[in-house]
């Protein structure tokens, strides 16, 4: 396989609160192959958004990348100077935010904000930028005359398209999309996802899709990275993840989402409990307290992310028993007793 576009190794990001360090991302590793869509999935507060932002290095003032590397096309995003980083921003790494309403400046026309990147970052002339903006709007299925509108004049779905058009503006190699469809209804979600998939194929770019919605992952992502409490717990092709998950958390996640294809029982099984406090993470596996299969060993020794089978990594002491665990995990009573 060719060199991945982005290779994250042992990345740790810490929020420094007075007298307290919250490790939002803890020694995370995964690859983003060229020309693929990689899902970054996990529940709220698992560190997925923090990590997504780290790829642009625009993180909170009190957040720090404490260790690890982010090798992007031969450059380590964690090490390069601010100037080099700023050169990469938007030209090579673009971003689609969750709320396109708030990410567009309300007082300027969309055209102005388009020109800001096309001319300001892309060095285009006024006429070039005008043509490119119209072309981008066409790519995302909006009429070019809407360029003269203000952000508030667009519907939610349209605004998300505008955000995607903006992200595509300078032909980036990587687009980081942070919950790009979470705020939209399912019909519009599907339209936008289809469009992202088509554009990604046509343009050969890579996308990191941050989401908590496993159905989005199932629909669009080639590979999926599952995060739990700041750690990567499983990383493999999406099809494998859905059919043969190795980590109990992934098994639980699957149970917690409705599956239309096999709408048999209609019962959703939640994973009871809550993620651990990242300021005081527990010893051992972070999922152990909620895991129906946890052994004493799990509560004392932290599992490391290990390769298991071809192209499948997992951080679980009982991964070799996964087949048996999957059978048990499918039963709702397995998840019932833990509190």
């Amino acid at each position: 396989m060719s060199q991945p576009l982005l290779s994250v190794k042992n990345l740790s990001i810490v929020y420094e609160v007075p007298n307290l360090d919250v490790v939002a991302v803890s020694r995370a590793s995964f690859d983003v192959p060229r020309g693929s869509i990689v899902g970054l999935v996990g529940e709220s507060g698992c560190g997925k958004t923090t990590m997504a932002r780290a790829f642009t290095r625009i993180i909170s003032d009190n957040a720090k990348i404490t260790e690890g590397s982010m090798d992007f096309d031969g450059k380590d995003l964690a090490k390069i100077s601010e100037r080099e980083m700023n050169d990469l921003r938007w030209r090579d790494i673009a971003f689609v935010p969750q709320s396109a309403m708030n990410s567009l400046d309300p007082v300027y026309r969309v055209e102005y904000q388009m020109h800001e990147v096309l001319r300001g970052r892309g060095g285009m002339s006024r006429s070039q930028a005008k043509a490119r903006a119209a072309e981008l709007f066409e790519m995302v299925g909006i009429e070019a005359n809407r360029l003269r509108d203000f952000p508030h004049q667009f519907s939610g779905g349209m605004r998300q398209r505008v955000a995607i058009a903006l992200a595509l503006a300078l032909n980036p190699k990587l687009i980081v999309a942070d919950e790009p469809v979470t705020a939209l209804d399912v019909i519009v979600q599907r339209q936008i996802l289809d469009q992202m998939r088509a554009l990604q194929r046509d343009l050969g770019i890579s996308i990191i899709m941050v989401t908590h919605d496993i159905s989005v992952v199932a629909y669009i992502c080639d590979r999926t990275v599952v995060m739990y409490a700041g750690e990567v717990v499983e990383d493999c092709e999406t099809a494998t993840l859905l059919s043969k998950p190795l980590h109990p958390y992934t098994m639980g996640l699957k149970n917690a989402f409705p599956d239309i294809a096999s709408a048999g029982t209609g019962i959703l099984t939640p994973i009871s409990g809550a993620p651990p406090d990242l300021a005081r993470p527990p010893a051992g596996c972070r999922f152990a307290a909620r895991c129906p299969f946890a052994l004493d060993h799990c509560r004392s020794v932290s599992p490391t992310l290990m390769s298991f089978g071809d192209d499948h990594s997992v951080a679980c002491h009982r991964a070799h028993e996964a087949e048996a665990l999957r059978a048990q995990a499918a039963l709702p009573e397995t998840w019932g007793e833990i509190l």
Partner: protein, 325 residues
């Protein structure tokens, strides 16, 4: 076009508000104790002479008739005669209004330019030593009574250092061909300096603190974060996106401040013997010159209402979310 409708509806509201103000003013002066003519009528007048005067001023008629006469006169720009000066009130007001407006607007413009720049800068230097030093000073200037500040400035710059004159609008004995040549003369400007500075110091706190807190809020907005992610220049991020959005409420407060400033003027004009509407109002009330006081009140109310209208219209112009809604 779409911009005309809000203008028309605001203008209609303005007329309603003006009518309400006029009515309240009319009733207020009728409710005051004593005969409105008490100051005008000389005790040596005979009863017939007094009654003739009362008839002449229309005070023997019913309140309702007086009210309509008053409205009718107002529509023609007729504000009555000053008891004290025995000249038309309108004439007196037109003479003094420019002085008040010049003082008000020059001080506010200075205060807002300074406040906006300093506020944006303080937001930029958040949690710094400069902020710890500057904020208490700003709060202190905001808390100072303006007459006290005026007297301190007078004591320093006029009485001790002798840099600026102590009061009035021009040096004794100077004459100018026109009002314009007066207002542009160095003499007038040096007379303007101290009262203007007093009011500017008094009023810079509001725009400064407002700009600072708006800026802090706006810089946390997603679109500012996105501007950073886009790799835009710091100037574009801070000025074009940050300051431009933070400025919106400050512009509204400017127009509204004009109203407050006119109140502040009453005091500062008295301290600096500035022949403006505020000082005239004080002396008219103490001399029971009701027509003049009524006219001055009305003029101040008109300015305040007009500035509110301008604030509304300015906002529709500055914020596309309102004009295109």
């Amino acid at each position: 076009m779409s911009t005309l409708k809000p203008v028309l509806s605001r203008t209609f509201q303005l007329i309603l508000v003006l009518w309400a103000v006029v009515t309240i003013l009319f009733l207020m002066f009728r409710l005051m104790p004593g005969n409105p003519l008490a100051a005008y009528i000389d005790p040596t007048f005979t009863l017939e002479q007094q009654e003739a005067l009362i008839r002449q001023f229309g005070l023997d008629e019913s309140l309702l008739r007086q009210y309509f006469t008053y409205l009718g006169n107002l529509l023609q720009g007729e504000l009555g005669y000053s008891f004290r000066y025995r000249t038309p009130v309108a004439e007196r007001i037109w003479l003094l209004l420019p002085n008040t407006l010049i003082l008000t607007f020059s001080s506010l413009i200075v205060a807002y330019i300074f406040g906006i720049l300093a506020g944006a800068w303080l937001a930029w230097r958040r949690a710094s030593r400069a902020e710890a030093f500057a904020l208490p000073i700003v709060l202190a200037t905001r808390a100072m009574p303006e007459f006290w500040l005026g007297m301190v400035l007078l004591a320093i710059f006029s009485f001790s250092l002798g840099i600026f004159p102590a009061g009035g609008t021009r040096s004794a004995g100077t004459e100018y061909e026109s009002l314009w040549s007066l207002y542009t003369s160095a003499d007038f400007l040096s007379h303007l300096a101290l009262p203007m500075l007093t009011l500017a110091i008094y009023s810079q706190g509001l725009p400064l603190l407002l700009m600072r807190s708006n800026m802090l809020d706006v810089m946390k907005e997603d679109f500012v974060t996105m501007a950073k992610v886009k790799g835009l220049s710091p100037y574009t991020i801070v000025i074009k996106h940050g300051a431009r959005n933070a400025l919106l409420p400050v512009m509204t407060s400017f127009a509204i401040s004009v109203g407050y400033q006119l109140q502040g003027n009453v005091v500062v004009e008295s301290v600096f013997s500035w022949p403006g509407l505020g000082r005239e109002l004080v002396s008219a009330v103490s001399a029971s010159d009701y027509p003049l006081a009524q006219g001055a009140f009305l003029m101040i109310a008109v300015v305040v209402i007009l500035m509110n209208l301008i604030a509304d219209l300015l906002y529709t112009f500055l914020d596309p979310r309102i004009s295109h809604a």
